[in-house]
């Protein structure tokens, strides 16, 4: 056996566990000897033919690094199929939670520590910190699950969140009504959002640490006619009814979606008229010179939200068809 075989065997066992190296090395050497012998036959081999046969055998065995990987049988990927459901489950739950926590924390800290709160600075700091937090969370989840993937046995994966604990059956189709769950979740979120919108005229500015600007009164002009407020709450009540119907039925018919779209546009028109015909925001929160600009920016923001909502609803509905 030549130095070539020694190098080959050493390369194979180089990255194998210490305890199995000698055994595997001895087996590979015996195999190479057998294969060389079979090639040479019973006739007395010359040194040249021995060298050629050995080279051919090593060629046949192939790349020693690949052979070593076959022996270790260790995963050649970061997130394998056994950990993938856990990985997706973690991303689905952890990332939104991190995003919400980051936004809330940054908004509260910025408002509490900045004497003159400016929207641009607030948005810049919040978006920047949230993106960093999301990337960090993604990296931590990926590394932890990637490391866990290397020390996981099949029994352990069956107990993990996101992994199936029982074999699949047709009954799972009823239990996992994904479309219905999505519609219910969206309806609950929309109801929470509607309640928050309804509370806006009642929230004192001191609640978000800017009470010094108007002595802790609300964000809305106290002289605004009660009819406008009642109209606003009336429209929100209609929206809440539509969402409640979706929640109870766990489905959203085309008629319901069209009604919702018409209601959205109607509310936007109502708010546009309200904002462009009178003072809606508390006078102490708006500078006299820029009052009109602020009202127009608010109107534009409302219509951007309405258009975005229509587009996303249309996309979601088409995807569910």
């Amino acid at each position: 056996m030549s130095a070539l075989t020694d190098i080959y065997v050493d390369t194979v066992i180089e990255h194998l566990p210490e305890k199995s190296r000698d055994d595997i090395a001895a087996e590979i050497r015996a195999t190479i000897d057998d294969m060389v012998e079979a090639r040479l036959g019973d006739g007395g081999p010359s040194t040249d033919s021995q060298t050629v046969a050995e080279r051919e055998v090593l060629e046949q065995l192939g790349d020693p690094v690949l052979l070593s990987r076959e022996y270790t049988n260790s995963p050649q990927h970061l997130i394998g199929p056994t950990s993938y459901p856990l990985f997706i489950w973690s991303l689905r739950w952890v990332l939104p939670a991190v995003a919400v926590l980051s936004v809330l924390t940054n908004v509260i800290v910025h408002i509490a520590t900045t004497p003159q709160v400016q929207l641009g600075a607030l948005l810049g700091q919040t978006i920047g910190s949230t993106v960093t937090a999301l990337l960090t969370a993604f990296a931590v989840i990926t590394i932890l699950i990637g490391l866990g993937d290397r020390n996981m046995d099949t029994g352990a994966t069956e107990k993990l969140p996101g992994a199936r604990s029982e074999p699949w059956s047709v009954d799972d189709l009823h239990r996992r009504d994904v479309r219905g769950s999505q519609i219910r979740a969206e309806a609950i979120l929309n109801l929470v959002f509607i309640v928050l919108l309804a509370l806006i005229p009642l929230i004192p500015t001191s609640l978000v640490y800017v009470g010094h600007l108007n002595n802790g009164e609300t964000f809305i002009d106290p002289d605004l006619g009660a009819g406008w407020l009642l109209g606003y709450w009336g429209f929100l009540a209609l929206m809440a009814v539509l969402e409640a119907i979706k929640l109870v039925r766990s489905s959203a018919s085309a008629a319901l979606l069209i009604t919702g779209a018409i209601l959205d546009v109607t509310i936007a028109v109502f708010l546009t008229i309200a904002l462009l015909t009178q003072q809606v925001l508390h006078p102490d929160l708006t500078s006299t010179s820029g009052a009109e600009v602020q009202q127009i920016i608010t109107v534009i923001a409302i219509w951007v939200l309405v258009v975005w909502d229509q587009v996303s609803t249309r996309r979601t509905y088409r995807a569910r068809l």
Binding site: E27, D34, E70
Partner: protein
Amino acid sequence: MNEDEEQALATHEQELRRGTVVFASLVACRHPQYGYSLLATLTEAGIATEANTLYPLLRRLEKQGLLTAEWNTEQARPRKYYTVTAGGAEVAAALHTQWLGLNSSITTLWKEGTP
């Protein structure tokens, strides 16, 4: 058959053989076999196998308890002999039943699909 089809065929053949080699090794190891003798036995039986696939596979089957391994140092060249265990024999018998069933099914399917 064009180049793409040949490549697809090679991939499918490899997948088909992968499971076959495990079954064939368990069957062949009903008599003690060392690595090269098993390779030769399988090749003679028409089940072409790469050495760099077979040796790690034997080790995995040993870890699973389907094969036992023992070094024989009495011969001029020390060799590691593999023999199927009782559990391995049961697995081989179950695989054999599956194999016969699949063979029968695919033969029927082939006849039905042949004009």
